[in-house]
């Protein structure tokens, strides 16, 4: 039986609680409170209510028929997380964590964000429940995801630009941790992905598993069986683990995680620690495969998509890679852009650049498969936030 993490937060050799002493009691308290409420009927009922009436779940599954016909191979189905309130899967976990924060009596929430979707989701639930909200965002990401910065501000959040390091997601994460260590008693850190110190990788996964749990019911309703493969993009790994986890013990379903290949693995300018066989290391509270130089300094990453531009990956994906249950591949920047264009033109859906990486892989493999095969792609978010980036690539100023 697959049953991770263990009671100390380890997924095999990965995960754990690598935090400064000041925050250890905070993460221990969080783990205890999560354990307490995880199966609490009132908590579960409240979360189910919010997911249904506020987030708009269940999200549909859509058969991308024209795109599939065009490719002439496997049928591509999309799990439409882009249709959630706020436009991405991030709200599944932000909502769960906000409800927990309320039960823990925390009135202030903080978050890190890359693409801004997690920041928007956090600002949204903070507004929904009347909590103070501060979002840390790399200065470079503030540039490339400007619409989301404005959304967060409209929702009443304070957005703090982070100027240190590479000015992207990892640096935003460093700064959020610095805030937490300073305001540990008043503040709940709503973490954006299935990584970080225990219990975050487990807790975020559990909240995101609504994606895969729904799919396991929806796919048989639509096609009479489960898909042949489930495919999702992997930044920190939350949308992917949410889809994958319910399928881990369904052996006929292949599991494929798609990392950001950037300019190509061979260039070194990417954000694909799993595919590039990065060494095991420790960052942001957990032990994972981590892009680093020979001296253990974290190296700068590159991806067209801010949400995938991160040197590490959640611990459960590291384990799934090692035990061979999931396969990890990459889509490069240009492949993601091509997939983005294809979905716009063939299906009338504008996907997030993150999700476009998952789609690009499906587009790559579908033509080589027979037409009765089914690929389920997690469309983790919508692309409105990426208008500036895509326009710039096409040489257009908005």
């Amino acid at each position: 039986m697959y049953n991770y993490p263990d009671s100390t937060g380890h997924f095999g050799q990965f995960g754990g609680i690598y935090m400064a002493e000041t925050l250890i009691p905070a993460v221990e308290e969080l783990a205890a409170q999560y354990l307490r409420y995880q199966n609490d009927p009132d908590f579960k009922a409240e979360l189910a209510y919010e997911l249904k009436h506020y987030v708009g779940r269940p999200s549909p599954i859509y058969h991308a028929r024209r795109l599939s016909e065009h490719l002439g191979g496997a049928q591509i189905y999309l799990k439409r997380e882009d249709l959630n309130h706020t436009g991405a899967h991030k709200i599944n976990s932000a909502m769960g964590q906000a409800l927990l924060a309320r039960r823990m009596g925390k009135k202030r929430v903080i978050a890190e964000t890359g693409a801004g979707m997690h920041g928007v989701a956090t600002a949204t639930v903070a507004a929904r429940f009347g909590m103070e909200c501060v979002v840390y965002m790399g200065a470079e990401d503030i540039q490339r995801q400007a619409p989301n910065v404005f959304r967060m501000k409209l929702l009443g959040a304070t957005v703090v630009p982070v100027e240190s390091g590479s000015k992207t997601l990892k640096d935003a994460c460093n700064e959020a941790i610095r805030d937490w260590v300073t305001n540990v008693e008043s503040t709940f850190y709503i973490f954006g992905t299935a990584a970080g110190p225990h219990p975050y990788p487990m807790m975020v996964r559990d909240f995101q598993c609504v994606i895969g749990n729904e799919a396991r019911i929806q796919m048989p309703e639509m096609i009479g069986r489960q898909p042949d493969a489930v495919i999702a993009c992997v930044g920190g790994g939350s949308n992917a683990i949410g889809l994958f986890h319910p399928y881990i013990e369904v052996p006929q379903v292949q599991i494929i995680g798609v990392e950001a290949g950037g300019f190509g693995i061979e260039t070194g300018k990417h954000a694909a620690p799993l595919t590039a066989n990065a060494k095991v290391g420790v960052l942001h509270g957990n032990k994972v495969y981590l892009m680093q130089d020979e001296n253990g300094q974290i190296t700068e990453t590159h991806s067209i998509s801010a949400g995938l531009d991160y040197p590490g990956v959640g611990p459960e994906h590291c384990l799934l890679k090692d035990i061979g249950r999931a396969q990890y591949v990459t889509s490069n920047d240009d492949e993601a852009i091509a997939a983005f264009d294809a979905l716009c033109r063939f299906e009338g859906i504008i996907p997030a650049l993150e999700s476009s990486h998952a789609l690009a892989h499906a587009i790559k493999i579908a033509p080589g498969m027979s037409t009765d095969k089914v690929l389920l792609v997690n469309l983790s978010g919508r692309g409105d936030k990426d208008m500036n980036t895509v326009a710039k690539l096409k040489g257009i100023t908005l």
């Binding site: 400064a20 610095r178 420790v282």
Partner: protein, 266 residues
């Protein structure tokens, strides 16, 4: 007897408190690190905490973040820092040296290789900010095999059960983080420290050093009254940042002498 133990025994006989300056190795330049270490000792330092720069210093405020960035730009690595300690030891075989930083550079080298290099070059203690006891059992075996003391942090938020646990594992001295925050923060609360230290002493039999947020001679003196050693980091790193390569030794020496004087009056 280890160098750390010997240093604290001697201080105890003299009824003095330890002055433990911190600075980031390689800042302002790798060539100045060993001269700075000697200058610290000449100005009254009892133990030196040498910072190992990391690309993502999550527990540090802006001052030490900038120092880490400067040092990394100058090409400093864990390997080159171990060489610096080796060079320091050619002239000083008594002053304890503790390496302080984050775990990943050590993970990358491998704990066994690291611990054996530490022993060979004369490092006495190792403090990894992001490796709590729970995640450090394997690391300790290697450190202990080579006679290197694992130095632990305790914080205002640490509860009694953890204090007990740390008491069992810690060697050398224990470092009490005097405030909730990052290095160099300004919210030091003396009465909170005064309350916490007796709680720590119930379990911790090692000397207790206090650091984070000690900004001047007056706070150093006030803190020294409450514990066995005072760690001063950001203030010294700030002095380095505000100096030129020509006057940095003189400026840091002057600051450390002032701190020494204040602590000895405690």
């Amino acid at each position: 007897m280890s160098r750390i133990q010997a240093a604290f025994e001697k201080l105890k006989q003299q009824q003095r408190r330890a002055l433990i300056p911190f600075f980031t190795a390689g800042d302002p330049s790798p060539a100045l690190t060993v001269p700075l270490m000697h200058a610290l000792v000449a100005s009254g330092a009892d133990v030196i905490e040498l910072g190992v720069p990391f690309s993502d210093p999550m527990a540090d405020g802006p001052t030490i973040q900038r120092a880490s960035e400067r040092a990394l730009k100058k090409g400093v690595s864990l390997r080159s820092i171990l060489e610096m300690v080796s060079e320091f030891r050619r002239q000083d075989n008594a002053t304890p040296v503790v390496l302080m930083g984050y775990g990943n550079p050590i993970e990358a080298m491998g704990w066994e290789a690291f611990a054996s290099r530490c022993q060979a070059v004369g490092v006495d203690g190792v403090l990894t900010v992001d490796f709590p006891p729970e995640e450090s059992f394997e690391a300790f075996e290697h450190l202990q095999r080579h006679g290197i003391d694992p130095i632990f942090l305790l914080a205002p938020t640490t509860k009694e059960a953890r204090i007990e646990q740390v008491a069992k594992l810690a060697r050398g001295y224990v470092y009490y983080v005097s405030l909730k925050g990052v290095t160099g923060a300004g919210n030091l609360d003396l009465s909170a420290i005064e309350q916490k230290i007796p709680e720590l002493r119930q379990h911790i039999k090692l000397p207790i050093g206090v650091g984070f947020g000690i900004r001047d001679a007056a706070t150093a003196k006030a803190v020294a009254k409450l514990c066995d050693g005072v760690v001063v980091g950001s203030r010294i790193v700030q002095q380095i940042e505000d100096s030129t390569e020509q006057n940095v030794i003189a400026n840091v020496s002057a600051l450390v002498k002032e701190l020494r004087l204040a602590i000895d009056q405690a």
